[in-house]
Each structure stands twice: as C-alpha cells, then as structure tokens.
Symmetry: D2
Subunit: 287 residues, 4 copies
C-alpha cells in the first residue's frame, strides 16, 4: 500500500500529511487571540512603490503601513503565541471578474517558522522569518525591531506623547476603513526538466496568481466577543537599513527592497489591541 | 512601471525578488562547508514505511537513516552555519524515462527558516523547522535531539564505544554507495476558486511531481579539496516520541508519523566529517 | 590613573561598572510593567520541604506556590519584557531583631540572563536561567513550561473551567495576604587561598545571610495606577521531571530537588494580571 | 530537619545545592573540548585602558586581545557546547606575596547563562551574556559578532588573505607566551542594613579581591591528547559600537566602556583550533 493523494489538503512533507480539516469545522480553532499592535503609516515615493507591484494591482495612495503585532493565545496554534510584522500598501484589484480594494501585503515577517510555512504554502502569503523581540514600552513610547541573522533592518517607534493631526488621523481611518481584504500574489518557481540547462531552473512558475483573504465577518452564531480597544494615536519613526547578501543570504533582497521605500512623511501612528479568530480558509483566487 | 515577471527565479515575496543567478556562476558559492555528522540506520516495519511513499518510488530495504549534520561556513549562506536532520529511506524511482536509486528524504529538519524556505520553494525539499542544539560529545558518545515548541520528539545517540558488526557495516556501505541522488516530492496545494466551498480550499495541487537532486560530481577545475574523514563506527539509539496537535499545531503529523516508524533493529551508527559545496541548481523533475 | 572603588554600586565586570544610581531617583524606572500570571498552589511533603530550608526560616503551611509571570514593558529594563517563574513557600523569619512572615523564593527561573545576573548579585535572589515560552491559552485553559537545554523539567496548567472549592480559595487568600515580603538567602562561595588544597575551593562563603525584599508600598505621590485584575480561579496540574547531570550540568540539582517536592494535593490555581513598578532597592539584611 | 551548611560548595539557590565535588575527582570532566578560535590583538589608548584597571594590576603593553571561541563537546558541561568571547589585556599582578604576569579578563561574553552563573559565582569571572552566533567563514575570511537584545555592539573579522608582518606576529607570540594565568577581580556588592538609607544599598562589597586561574598544566597521567593547530595568521577589523541604557539596561556600561577602548592599530589576527579540558578548580586568591 502506498500514499494515494485524495481530495484533501496536503503540505510538504506529503509523506506525513493529508489533513482532514483545516479549521472549518473544528470549534477549538475559533476562539479569538489577543493581539497587541503598534502601527505606523508613512508616505513614500509613488514610483518606487509602483515598480514592485504586479499589473493586476493598482496602487491607491503611495502609503506604506507597518504593523508589529504580538499574538497571544492563538487557538489555531493550539493556544500558542508569536509575533508578526505586516508591511502593506493600499491597492485596488481590477480583474475580469473581481474588483476590490484592500491591503497588498508586501511582506509579513514572523518569528516562528510554523506559521510562515503554513501561510506561504496555503494562501501564498509573502511570509518570511525575522527575529522580532517583544514590543518595548516606556513612558508612552513603544518600539520594536526586526533583524535577520542578528542584524536589525527594520526599526519602528510609536510615540503616543506626540500628537498626529486630526486630518492625518482621518486620512488613515479612511484608507483602513476602505479595505475589504488582504491581497497576496502566490508564486512558486518550477523545477527544470532534465534536458534544460541549469540556468533554466526556477525561471518559470509552478503557479502564479493573485489571491485575497476577505476581511473576517463574524458569523451570527459566533460565541466569542471580538472588538478592538480605542486607538492611542501618536507619531513615530521608521528606520529601514539596507541589507546585503553577506548579511542575509536568502532574504537580503527584502531588506534591500524595503530600504528603497524610505519615508517621505510619517502620517500617523498608533497603539491598540484587538481580538481575532484567525480564519484563513476563506481565501480565494482573484480573477 | 510595475513588476513584470521575466524569465528568472522568483520567490515569495515576489515584490522583492527576481534573482539574477542562484549560484551557478557565482564562485563565492563554491567553497565547501565543513560538516560534522552523526548517522544511524535502523530497520523498521516495511508496511508502515511503504504506506507513506508515493507510487512513483519503490522502497528497497525497509531502512530509515537519520543524519544530524552541523554545517559550518556554508558559502551558499555567506559563510554562516546551521544544523539539519535528514530522515531518509532507500528507494528506486521508476518512471517512463528515468530509473534511478537514491535516498527519499522523508523530512529534513533545519534550525533556521531561511534554508527551509529556500529549499521547499525551489526543489520541493520536505524541510521543516525544529529546534536542534549542537551535537553533544562525551567520552566517545554523541547525542542530539530535535524539538518543536520546546518538546523533544526525536532523540538520537551514537556510541562509538560499542561496536557494530562488520556485516552490518558492510550493509550500510552497500546501501549508501548505491544512492545516485536525493529524491523529493514537490507539492503545493492550490487556493480555491471564489465559487467553490471553503472545504475545497487546498484540496487539489498547484504542482505535484517527483524531483531528484543528483549526487554532486566535482568539476574538473574545482579548486577546493573535498573528501570525508574516516567513519567512527558504533551503535546507537533512537527515541521517537509521538506529537499531538496541542504540542505542535502545524507539524504534529510529522512527529506522529515518524513515531510510527519505530526501530525494529538498530543496524549501525557512525560519526564522521566531510566537506560539501552545497550545489542545488542541478535538480530536475523525474519523468 | 586606575579604577578606585568609590562608595557606589559595582557589579562584575567592575572594570565597566560604578553605577550612579539604581533607580531610586530615576523616574523613568517608576512606570509599572503589565504582568500576566498563572499561579498554582499545592501541598507537598512537609519534611521534604523543611529539609531544604535554612534554620533562620520556619516553614508555615507545607505549600509550594508556582507563578509563571509574563512581564511586558518593564521600565527598569528600559521597556523590555521577559518571563519568570517564582517557586516559593510560606515561611516566618525569626531573628534577634526581625520577625516577619513572607514567601521564601526557592528558585526563580527567568528567560534572560540580564535580570538573573542583576538579581543574584544584588539581592541574592535564587535566580536561574530556563527556557520559558509564552503562556499558552486555549478555551480557558492556560499552560506553560520551563526547560533546560531543551528538556522540560517543570510543566504547569491552570484550567479555569474546573472550579476550586471556596474553602481552598480562602486558604490561598489567607496565605498570600499574610506575606509581608519576599525572602532570600544570599550566598557566595569563597575562592581558596593559594596554600589550600583544590578540594577547599568554594567550600566556605564570601557571604551568607538572609535578605528580605519588603512588599511594595505605593508612595503618596506615585503618579501611576496600579492594581490587579479579578482572579479567574480554577484548578490545575503540575509535572516535575527530575533532571540529571547529563541533562543540565550546572543546574541539574535544581530540577532534581524540585522533583522531590511532588504535589500531594493541588489546592487551587488562578489566572490574573497586575501592574508592578519593580522596586528592588528597598531590600535589606535580616537580623 | 533543615538545611545545614557543611564544608562544601554551595551556589544559589542554596536550597538545592551542596555539591560533592566540582570536577576534581570526576574523570568524566577531564576529556578536552574542541575549540575553534578567531583572535585579534590591537593597540589602544594606554590611559583609557589603565583607567579601568584596579591598582593591584599593572598594565603592560596597551593591547586589547579579543578571542571568539566556539566550544564543542565540553566534558565539564556533559558534552554540550557554547560560544564565548574573551576580551583581555596583558598585566602584571604585584602583591605582597604574589608577582605574576597574565591576561586580565575585562569581560567574557557567553551565549548561555549556565557557564556565566557558574563562572561568576565561583571564580569571579567577569562573565556576561551576549547573543553570539556561529563564526562565519567565507573564502578565508572569518567574522563574528556579539549583540545584546538584538543590537550588535562588537563585530570582528579575521582575514587570512591579508598578511600580518612577521614582527607583529612575533610581538603577539611574545605577549601570549608570557602569560602565566587568567586574572579576575571578584566583587559582590553587599545588601544594606535595615537602618541604612536606600542609597546605601550595594555601595560596599561582600567580597572584593583579585583572583588568578593558573594556566593549565597537563598532569603526568593525563590520558587525552591536547595541543593546538597551526595558526593561520592574518589581519582583521574590530567594530565597537557604544550602547546606551535603552539598548541594554543591565549591561550598557560594558558596551559603552568597550567603545572607549577603540583600536589605534590592529597588530595581528589569527584563526586556530585547540583542545582544552576546562579545569577551573585550581584558581586562588592573589595576595
């Protein structure tokens, strides 16, 4: 008897895979996690940002939003916690069928390999590992950073003692309120055929398509309370240090690329907490 | 201007990708790493092992080989090091075109996310993260372990004070000498279409094909010395502890599956060191 | 010019030391941290517990209390966070001058070396390093563990779905309400004289005395809010796994010793949060 | 029955202590570890260096030597490994009884808390925790760094492609060959008396004395081979980044102090390996 691929989810290593369910019917996955967030939005160079976005997405405002999120008690991770950084920009998808506004996730750093592997292989989330410590908090000022192989490449502060303008706060609320989902671009390079030269390896895709994870809608019978805290608005700073191959051989292009998206102006920043059940099975291919 | 996918390697996040080369022409990738290995081969239940292997591969001896490998000075990682565990069994691939014997990698644990992501997305290596400390050595006895979220699931010792039989050592040499490459099964689940039910998500593949990384052949003009140390043969022990969803929500099936491959007999074990340049661009799809 | 020891705090390496202040006058040290706690109290064998307590302390109830505490935003650590485990029992100090009831800290595990070194060298806190992940939370059940070199030796759950008896809850409140401070025993072994045999090394003390850190009293002009959340009471479990020299060469006696304090009865457990400013300069020698 | 302090080694927590032996008679402690080293010596400002050295030590050459050492298979740590950085300068101790030349260890960074706590409390080694990755090696160039809370403060390279002058190599050999031991200054601050003001806490010592660990002399009946590899001499670089309280609340004075010892001239650097049994019971108080 050998492994037969049935019509159910498989992930590498396939030899130990064949999931019966990925949380749809498992109520132990549904309790929301507690999430502590510092978020900052800045304006960057429109051309620099547009140059890295595939055609199917249209950049709206030339804004980059960065959220450091501490997750505690994730039911979909059996109650464990971890930290992620979501780097995104506001875009509109316009396809033959779908038209939708949302956040294009340029990269999502996480400090544990398990959610990275899971999110990449399923939804095509642009996840990557980074060392991310706990968010620091001192007298109303929050700070955090991301490092690769011990070298910080992304440092952020949110200072709630410094006030953002009401106008800028409204601008952020408008942009965030408009988003109907999280956009990705799932891509996997193909292994060469035996008779192709080495140079051909990985130069065409196994798959390449846009994906959306729609914003979570609380089911009528959802038994848990959700909701977010009031935002503590403030201003902040962002430091993007370019990385070279020697620093980070597998991921240096990410650090180098982020460093090309330098801030022209910090718009506003904030600290808040919220609850989220982590529902990931609703994503679909955009057409 | 937007991101156009040219004919070159892309990896997620594609927004910061588009590699010019993946080591073929970059001589700084060619210096060999120093590798310290403890290796153990055991016999397991043939049916248990066959049941997890896809049809395209035929199990030869019902052996499981486990290697803990410390890598130091990997040029393909800019001189950095890390640790991996290679769990494999001897198989024959028999397709319409190719017929070949080699090691099917059931799972490869690594203690850093970067080589995991790189190896999964390119060659379809069945890589997964585990916490792997340095190999311990005390009075001729080596030991090491792999843990997930702080819980050990794979513990191995190699004791060079206890002798393996000459016959068993010859058996290992025969099996290892026969292998012409490392076999994988590249698999990526597909995101559902918008009008499919949630349950359909990830139940069909984006790609699903067997792959081989042929054994490295030293080029005529290769400037570095390679070679392996003498093996210090011995015996050893292996402890496979089943894991549950609560222990390891994303990877528990791997720990649970390995625990079904319990040893019936330890054949032999050894410690050795070798040098390897880490050439990964030669892999191809088996047909 | 050379290093002169003035009348101020020095810690090793003394070459880079000579603190001007340790937080007494530095208001940036005074903001409270947010602390997330799971706590469990159990009854153990009275003789086993008494046998490890120095004469100057008298054991009251034969109870062991274990608290896992996640600290976020510690101002005395410049806003950083970490995790500790406080293992303590209720005792009375009775000296020539002082008489006082409080918690004798048998061992305090922390997951970062800096507070360990600081607390040991100043107050003689019985601190030791352990790997301590974030507290897990799933459907009202909390769990956490401590490991040394990758091997768990202390695992604890607190299940708020299971109710403790009112009587037992009152017992815990009585014991905890009575404590007037945290007791320690500061001890440092002395280096031998040149003409003493090697065996004499470290067999007499540089210092050996009981210490108390009095419970924090909020100053009249303290500008921050303190206070604790309501306790979510429940029951729980504790798993103490003995450790051997091979597992944990420097600390194995701690794991082995804790395992001799096995629970005879779980009294009650709870989850709560509180705020604490981390004032450590008030401790003094008990006489 | 209560804890009685007998004439044997105790370490905090004393409740779980009372060692029978610390390796003198335990032959499993005597197998040498394999150590991989990169070492660099530079000249610094004499006055800056003298200003941090206590009177009992006289600075010889104004040199700072920094060694990054990877330890593998330490028998005194049950076969485990770890990494340390030894920052030292050549001094002469001149007391009433003893006169001796050796290396004054200004600070020793280690990447695990257990040897730190052990070495501080016994010999008064100026040990401190730092994050230290594996030594990188790429085309004859070695590099490594030390970080605190994710921020690098000490970065070093040793490039064996660049040659040191014969004269400078001889100078290093002379200085290193002269050393008869490793010098420390054991210091522990005292807890205040109850009636002393808070400001008095820790401002006088529990102990304060110079210590030496004599160079290891191989016993006549020592059964293991020792010895060092040939040195691969080269040149290198050192980067000392000052640290502030916000970066590293407990240890920032160390990073800030090291940054005052900037190199005026790199003398020479090298890579080598050696074997060492880790004998620490021979240290004594200098008089």
């Amino acid at each position: 008897m050998s492994l037969k691929f049935e019509k159910k989810p498989y992930f590498m290593p396939v030899f130990f895979s064949g999931e019966d369910d990925h949380g749809i019917n498992d109520t132990s996955f549904h309790e929301p996690a507690d999430i502590n967030v510092i978020s900052l939005t800045y304006e960057t160079d429109r051309e620099a940002l547009e140059s890295i976005i595939p055609d199917c997405y249209e950049l709206l405002e030339p804004y980059v939003n960065i959220k450091f999120c501490e997750f505690f008690g994730c039911s979909w991770m059996a109650g464990k916690g971890y930290t992620l950084i979501n780097v995104n920009c506001p875009v509109r998808f316009k396809g033959e069928r779908d038209e939708m506004e949302g956040d294009l996730i340029l990269v999502m750093f996480e400090n544990h390999a398990d959610p990275i592997i899971g999110g990449r292989d399923s939804m095509g989330y642009a996840k990557y590992f980074a060392e991310i410590p706990l968010i620091e908090k001192l007298n109303g000022k929050f700070s955090c950073k991301a490092s690769a192989w011990g070298k910080p490449f992304l440092e952020m502060t949110v200072d709630t003692n410094v006030k953002a303008s009401e106008e800028d706060i409204e601008e952020i609320k408008k942009v965030e309120g408009r988003a109907k989902g999280k956009f990705q671009y799932k891509y996997m390079p193909k292994v060469r055929e035996k008779d192709e030269p080495y140079e051909a390896n990985y130069t065409t895709p196994d798959c390449a398509y846009p994906v959306v994870l729609p914003a979570f809608e609380k089911p009528v019978d959802y038994p848990y309370e959700l909701g977010a805290s009031e935002s503590e608005w403030g201003m902040g700073s962002i430091k993007l240090t370019p990385t070279a191959w020697e620093d980070w051989p597998h991921g240096w292009r990410i650090g180098a690329g982020l460093a090309k998206l330098q801030p022209k102006r910090i718009i506003a920043a904030r600290h808040f907490t919220y609850k989220d059940p982590g529902v990931y099975y609703t994503c679909y291919i955009l057409r």
